[in-house]
């Protein structure tokens, strides 16, 4: 309560503090660096308009995560609609984008994990990103994605299982290859 009453938000400081979080969330959700940059810019500008309605630093962080997540999902839906009308597969496109962007990273397994995350269904990907990038608990994720906790836990388990199975395969191939 005290924090809420005394909170004097500094927009510049908030942008500096959270820009990487907003950008990373959008990038992992969309798999497209350019689109993620656009989303991050829009979300941070929206923060400036919303600042008078936010009561604390935690509230601002929560609001930013939620806005970035929902904008990313909206952008993906728009892209899928466009892809469907053009007859192209968005996931092939995403895989390609991740492949290109992440090639210069140090760990091949890390690269592969990013690709595998991009290929997960939206709900599972959102749960995984919020859990492992943002270190949120299943309860917090459930509030953010407006879904029952059981659904979030199930999405996490299924996502993890899929990722692990595919990552092990990659790891074996990597070990065989080296």
């Amino acid at each position: 309560m005290g924090e809420t009453l005394n909170w004097q938000p500094d927009f510049e400081q908030l942008v500096g503090e959270h820009q990487s979080m907003v950008f990373s969330l959008a990038w992992r959700m969309t798999g497209d660096r350019g689109l993620a940059e656009e989303i991050a810019q829009d979300v941070l500008l929206e923060l400036d308009r919303h600042l008078p309605h936010l009561g604390s630093a935690n509230h601002a962080r929560y609001w930013l995560r939620q806005a970035a997540l929902h904008r990313s999902i909206d952008a993906l839906r728009r892209r899928r609609r466009n892809a469907a009308s053009l007859g192209t597969d968005v996931w092939d496109e995403l895989e390609e984008l991740h492949g290109v962007v992440e090639m210069d990273r140090e760990s091949p397994l890390g690269v592969r994990l990013e690709q595998l995350i991009a290929a997960l269904p939206d709900a599972q990907r959102a749960a995984i990103v919020l859990r492992y990038q943002e270190e949120m608990t299943p309860d917090e994720i459930a509030i953010m994605v407006r879904a029952p906790v059981a659904t979030v836990k199930s999405n996490l388990q299924r996502g993890l299982k899929q990722l692990r199975a595919r990552a092990e395969q990659t790891l074996k191939e990597f070990v065989r290859g080296s």
């Binding site: 510049e12 500096g16 990487s20 950008f23 991050a40 500008l45 397994l109 990013e114 492992y132 993890l160």
Partner: protein, 136 residues
Amino acid sequence: MDHNDGEHKDHKDMDRNEAEGNERASREMADFEGLLREAMQRQEAPLGLKQRVLAGARERRRAEQRPWWKVHLVQRIAASLVVVAIVGGFAVYQQGERRAEEQRKGEQAREQVMTAFRITNRTLGRVNARLAESSR
């Protein structure tokens, strides 16, 4: 007694194997989660993102602080010019129409006066001719 002991030992072994299996599975999952956390570190924001956001916010605030009559000044001036041009054009057109109407009416009046003159002239001519005849 020996048989029971053996069975009991088998059960214990199975339980231990199962516990070890579970422990190994949860350790492997924990390792994988650690790997995932490492792979999912936040990415650096693109260069210039913060500057673009701050510039955008500054521009928005400036626009909000501008008095209402200064907002979109260029558009307002252009719209005003268009309105002035339309109204002025209409006034000029109406004035021209009025002048043409007056000119037409003037022409008609002149025609009527000329006709009257011609009739009078003709009548006077006839009167003159009769007077000349009668005086002869």
